[in-house]
Amino acid sequence: MKLAIVVQRYGAAINGGAELHARYIAEHLARHADVEVLTTCATDYVTWRNELAAGVESVNGVSVRRFKVKHQRDPREFGKRSDRVFTERHSLADELDWLDAEGPTSPALIEYLAKHGESYDYCFFFSYRYYHAFHGTRAVPGRAILVPTAERDSAVGLHLFPPVFRGVRALMYNSHEERAMIHAVSGNQDVPGVIVGVGSDVPQNPQAGRFRQKHNIRGPFAIYVGRIDQNKGCPELFDFFQRYAKEPAGRLSLVLVGHSLLPVPEHPRIRHLGFLNDADKFDAMAAADLLIMPSYFESLSMVALEAWALGKPVLANAKCEVLRGQCIRSNAGLYYERYSEFAETLHAIEHNRWLSGSLGRNGRQYFQNNYDWRVIERKYLDMLAQLQARPATHAMEPLPGRADRRREDLAPADDVLERLPKAADQDRRRA
């Protein structure tokens, strides 16, 4: 069986959530099938500048075919178009322009798929919101399997994407919340889909002591791992933590791991260690008392899964439905919506060893049951077997004609998003 993994960026040094997800899946599926990755020459997700050479290369034993990006992203233009489609009545043409402005615009990749798509049995498209996924699934609809990695943000309210969700052969969801949201926005309940997520290669014996010694860190601490960014909820985390640090009962420090796009506050109990390699990262997580995930938008937090795999409790932002749902389903994490909850939950995990230990144990169990690589691989292979056994029953809806595309009758994406039910509770009950 020959499989294609189509993703916006790809490389051993690229650590974006969806990109890492795609790499892990490619490397694990390569044990069962002939896998080729189709991607762009970009490494920077802000500009999509061509930085790698076009052509074929091998990354960790997987063949990677790269295509040039036609033009870089102009942030001002993209911002303007985003405002237009997210907040105003607009046309489908506006949305197509938005997609083009968002990038990575690589017509060569789409052309290649259209020409050679038949040489693959199935093509996995990662991240529904990018150019390659929208046009790629339309180029090979009968072979397209979408890994949407959708978050509850404005893009999901655009009118471009529901036909894609309905037109692909199957969807590999990351979470119950993501599936419920995509069902609600597109009504694609009849399209085969499975909640899979992604595993992680967590070392068996991370060295917590080594980490403490190397970075001279003493005492209990909470850890945040990931890009230190506005979108990840870091300003709120800094604010909450500094308030928490003023409370006499709190003894925890905060250790930040990852590249920073924001100024990190100067505080004796906040340490920023920058980017760490995987071994150090896992050592750090093993040394921590808990992981904090302040992000508002996540389709699946791999870091949270890794923390659970290491038996660490997670404190998540309850505004992110996915994280909150995962905490509840796993019984392995607490969540906060405002400062008072942040402080109390942190105190609870810090001072109640029994609670902290129980959450950690539950997390480890949850990871083993749902995100162990054997489970993930089995789910992918079962889906492929299911698709091979059943011919496609639906087709991709064509794009409207030129005149219809110009009709400005589409509601702002933010309004669509606002109307979407918050399905976490219903879905949890169903689960």
């Binding site: 405002r338 008072s340 001072h351 609670l355």
Partner: protein, 328 residues
């Protein structure tokens, strides 16, 4: 947080969160989200801002009071040096041009033409300025609304915060009051315990001692004028000093006080005999000071017979107001 009520071995995160929220409500009162604050500001803000009589539909009212104005179309004219003589009839135009020198013999039309031309330009400029101002109007209004809205929102937030702080202050005052009461009760309990072992009938102090006490208390600061507990006036059994000056293992109440007094006496240098007029008949140190040292009689002090002398001395200095005469 040891007071979580988790009864089973299996953790239920939702249940724990409920408990945490209940605890927050108990500790911090009602906690509002941003959305709730906005709702309060929009609907119930008169509750918090009643003094100013701010209306909850303030923004709507403001908009209603100043409806959008369409800029009026103002007529204007163009005036140049040919305007007065213009006509669509060519022969007449030619004739006027021909007779212009004759006209200029009667009066000079140039200043009139110039003035009207300038006036026309001024009209145009004024109209443009007004149009610009009107165009900016909605944006300015929007800004005003926004500022006002934010002010109202902040005022509401402050109101809520003040309310919460008041609640906390009340809670703290009640706690403080409780603690004060508790401290008073404990103090009285300590005094009571100190007097408890005295099963013997109270002995009257020698008259000289009483006189000395009365005389000295007049000269002392107010803190020293507290009535001293009676038991200290009694004469306890003489302490059995161990060889080398070490106190015996089992000391009776009041012995340590006496040792302290002796030490102070040595420092003070004055003989008790000179003060109280002689030693007691049994030859033991008379309890010259009736100033029972409250902290020295504390059960903890009694249990610990090896209290550091320096601590004792500092205590006694505070309570007894300085060195007292030694009987030796």
């Amino acid at each position: 947080m040891a007071d979580f009520n988790i009864r089973s071995d299996s953790v239920n995160v939702e249940q724990i969160m409920e408990q945490i929220r209940a605890r927050i409500r108990e500790k911090r009162g009602v906690d509002y989200t941003e959305q709730q604050i906005s709702e309060l500001a929009a609907v119930k803000m008169e509750k918090f801002l009643d003094a100013r009589g701010v209306r909850s539909d303030l923004l709507e009212e403001f908009r209603r009071m100043r409806p959008p104005i369409d800029p009026p179309v103002r007529p204007n004219y163009v005036f140049d040096d040919q305007t007065l003589f213009e006509t669509h009839r060519a022969p007449i135009r030619w004739l006027r041009k021909l007779l212009l020198p004759v006209l200029k013999l009667f009066f000079n039309p140039s200043p009139l033409i110039q003035a009207l031309h300038i006036q026309s330009q001024l009209n145009t400029m004024q109209a443009e300025a007004e149009a610009q101002q009107l165009a900016r109007g909605p944006a300015r209004d929007q800004l005003t609304f926004e500022v006002m809205h934010n002010l109202v929102l902040e005022a509401t937030r402050m109101g809520i915060e003040v309310k919460n702080l008041k609640m906390r202050v009340e809670s703290l005052s009640s706690r403080l009051e409780f603690n004060e009461r508790r401290a008073r009760v404990l103090e009285s309990a300590v005094v009571y315990k100190a007097t408890e072992p005295a099963a013997e009938p109270l002995a009257q102090p020698p008259a000289a001692v009483r006189r000395e006490f009365e005389n000295r208390s007049e000269a002392r600061p107010t803190a020293e004028l507290r009535p001293r507990p009676q038991p200290e006036i009694r004469t306890p059994p003489a302490p059995q000093a161990a060889p080398g000056g070490q106190p015996a293992a089992a000391e009776g109440p009041g012995q340590r006080s006496r040792r302290r007094r002796r030490r102070r006496g040595r420092r003070g240098g004055a003989s008790a005999a000179t003060v109280i007029g002689g030693a007691l008949p049994d030859g033991t140190t008379p309890p010259a000071s009736s100033g029972a040292h409250v902290s020295g009689d504390h059960p903890m002090d009694q249990a610990d017979g090896s209290t550091a002398p320096s601590a004792d001395e500092s205590d006694s200095d505070v309570d007894s107001g300085g060195p007292e005469p030694d009987t030796q």
